[in-house]
């Protein structure tokens, strides 16, 4: 079992694909068609381009705020591809590649960051919770989903994300403990991107790895190179299998790096050096997978460039749709607090309409 072999307490980390794009542990390499890998690569590139475009729109004042996941594409995608459509995805707010794979339309995601609740109304078939802003609180929801799955005797699993900062929250602890006690089929993935805004990973906790926090809950924990798509897939597949078999939750620490700012209002140059960033760029998950695909002749440089061009165009179109979307009207803003308007809300809506009419 990977989670036994790669014991975080023994400072082991699961790595399969080297930064040079070589599979260093062929025996651990998950069996995936080249074509599928190529498709996943495209999702990662699409996410990367979308992130870059979003940052650009934001600089142009066309998008409000945005939390890019540049550099972390493999960590979220590698996990989600190991799950099925019937499984649940519980995001934090930095897993764009995973959301896309899960079926959340980019249009909706951009709409959310554009400042419109409609962006969180995903298609009914997409089993994905909305972005969760209060750090780590989503983990308890993930556990509840897992408990419900056991209750209904389904073989679904839940894949939930948080950041390295999230591990400090009380709800992280309560969720993992509940999951252990109730053997909830949840895979908790920590995207350890080394920072919580400006606070570095080493100031977040004194535990040497985040994976070892699993010990506190009597559940398996494993540290994975989060920029290594294959390692993420392998670790998650094992965790999913365990969860489906009724053997409970797993904690996966994906060691990665946030190459961009925390959000568009953050200036990372204050708290980290260019050298550090450059060093991590060498470990870029997309670059790595590209090298792999090139070596397997499943991608050419030209095709790759074309991908970027095509995606950029596609995303520009999507964004202009978002930009021309309707803002919520007054009725909509009132309509979703309760199943139906309370008497007080009815009264308030009336007043609001009067303001619209004459007051303003």
């Amino acid at each position: 079992m990977l989670s036994k072999t790669y014991d975080p307490l023994k400072k082991k980390r699961l790595e399969i694909l080297s930064p040079e794009g070589k599979v260093t542990k062929p025996n651990l390499m998950p069996k995936i068609e080249l074509e599928t890998i190529r498709k996943w690569y495209e999702t990662m590139v699409f996410a990367r381009v979308a992130d870059q475009k979003a940052l650009q729109y934001q600089r142009q004042g066309r998008m409000l705020t945005y939390a890019p996941s540049i550099g972390q594409e493999a960590a979220s995608l590698g996990a989600v591809v190991a799950t099925e459509e019937r499984d649940w995805l519980v995001p934090a707010f930095r897993e764009l590649a995973a959301w896309l794979h899960k079926g959340a339309p980019l249009e909706k995601l951009f709409l959310y960051w554009y400042g419109n609740e409609a962006g969180s109304l995903l298609p009914a078939s997409v089993r994905m919770l909305p972005i969760s802003v209060p750090i780590a609180s989503q983990f308890t929801h993930a556990v509840g989903l897992g408990m419900a799955i056991r209750y209904e005797e389904k073989d679904e699993v839940v894949l939930a994300f948080c950041g390295d900062g999230g591990t400090s929250q009380g709800e992280f602890h309560e969720a993992l403990n509940f999951a252990g006690v109730f053997q909830a089929p949840v895979i908790f993935v920590i995207q350890n991107n080394q920072f919580a805004i400006s606070v570095s990973r080493r100031d977040q906790t004194r535990s040497e790895t985040l994976a070892q926090k699993a010990v506190a809950y009597g559940i398996p924990g494993i540290q994975v190179d989060g920029n290594d798509l294959f390692a993420m897939v392998a670790a998650t597949q094992e965790a999913v299998a365990r969860a489906r078999a009724g053997e409970g939750p797993t904690l996966i620490e994906a060691v990665t790096y946030r190459l961009g700012p925390h959000t568009t209002s953050d200036d990372p140059s204050i708290y980290r050096s260019d050298e550090e960033v450059e060093a991590w760029k060498e470990k870029d998950p997309i670059l790595r997978l590209k090298r792999y695909l090139l070596s397997k002749k499943a991608l050419s440089e030209e095709e790759d460039q074309q991908l970027y061009k095509d995606f950029e165009e596609e995303i520009n179109v999507i964004f202009s749709q978002v930009e021309s979307s309707e803002s919520p009207d007054l009725e909509e803003v009132f309509s979703y607090t309760y199943d139906s308007l309370t008497p007080t809300l009815k009264k308030q809506l009336e007043t609001a309409k009067q303001f619209l009419g004459g007051g303003e």
Binding site: L122, V133, S137, T140, G144, L145, N177, P343
Partner: protein
């Protein structure tokens, strides 16, 4: 019909809803095997199995957060917080999530769930076991806040709460858990959330109370028996959303308004009622709408609690003051 106290009414409500709807799940600290420290869920684990009625680790945010996940999945969790004083660690889950999930997802994931908790003073308890914090919830859009005062209402409101499409904070006045019994129909029924109950009609003053205060208000009215004063007593039953019409109509008739609550006065639930009355029935008022409420202090431990308690005599004294205004 069976003669039940409030605890019995709760248990019967759970039992009937669990029987009827396989999605109903009950849990909390000590809520399973033992049936809760007040025994409201007693016998249910035995009857429905550990799957549907169970104990959790000691973690309120975990309890409420997991209930949110369950509700998203489509179950109907009814979770017990051991005392309302211990709901505070779950405040983030309730305020940031339970209240907002429907809105956040534009209706994709509404949360039908109940968070129940004993609340209120008068049981001579340790610190944090006597507070009345309904206003903290009532101020949060997206939550419904329900407080029964009789076994009949307890059963009907709990069944309504379980069936409600929105998250309901169900606060149980523990002081009257076993204080008295009432005939309660055997069959399942609901009492509408959002509707106050006119306990007794009257013409001179509108007296509003809820939970354990309804009985104190009734005692006060009894004390007034040999006066001419005619009091209309309203049991609010739902703190949020408020039954505006019943209150406004009553005050338009009586011209005087007194709200009585255990919660501390400042920024408390009474302030909302007074504002509602002032805004909507100003021209009918013959005296200032007034509250008789807890002082702005932590509820004293038992040896000092009597200083804090709302008594029928205090209510009478306020009523007389308002009538004489």
């Amino acid at each position: 019909m069976a003669l039940l106290n409030n605890i019995g009414a709760l248990t019967q409500a759970f039992d009937q809803e669990m029987e009827l709807d396989p999605r109903v799940v009950l849990y909390g600290e000590d809520a399973g095997f033992e049936g809760g420290v007040f025994r409201a869920t007693k016998g249910l684990q035995e009857k429905y199995g550990k799957k549907r009625c169970f104990d959790t680790p000691l973690a309120e945010a975990g309890i409420v957060g997991s209930a949110i996940g369950m509700a998203i999945y489509g179950l109907k969790p009814v979770v017990e917080i051991q005392f309302s004083g211990f709901v505070l660690p779950a405040f983030n889950e309730i305020v940031a999530h339970a209240a907002r999930y429907r809105n956040r997802t534009r209706g994709k994931y509404p949360l039908s769930m109940v968070i129940r908790m004993p609340y209120g003073g008068g049981i001579r308890a340790l610190e944090h076991h006597s507070e009345s914090i309904e206003a903290l919830f009532a101020h949060i859009p997206g939550l419904k806040v329900v407080i029964p005062s009789t076994p009949y209402d307890t059963k009907g409101l709990m069944i309504a709460a379980i069936r409600d499409p929105d998250p309901v904070i169900f606060m149980e006045p523990k002081r009257i858990y076993r204080a008295f019994k009432q005939e309660v129909p055997e069959e399942s029924y609901t009492v509408e959330i959002g509707k106050a109950r006119i306990v007794q009609p009257g013409s001179d003053l509108t007296l509003v109370a809820w939970g354990a205060m309804v009985r104190e208000a009734q005692k006060a009215i009894d004390l007034l028996a040999d006066t001419e004063i005619s009091v209309e007593l309203i049991d609010l039953r739902t703190i949020s959303p408020i039954d505006r019409d019943t209150l406004i109509q009553s005050v338009k008739k009586t011209g005087r308004f007194l709200v009585v609550h255990e919660a501390v006065s400042s920024f408390g639930p009474g302030a909302e009622l007074i504002s509602l009355i002032t805004e909507e029935a100003f021209l009918s008022l013959e005296a200032p709408p007034t509250r008789l409420a807890g002082y702005d202090i932590p509820v004293p431990l038992p040896k000092g609690e009597h200083h804090f308690m709302i008594t029928p005599k205090k209510i009478v004294s306020e009523i007389k003051r308002l009538i004489a205004y």
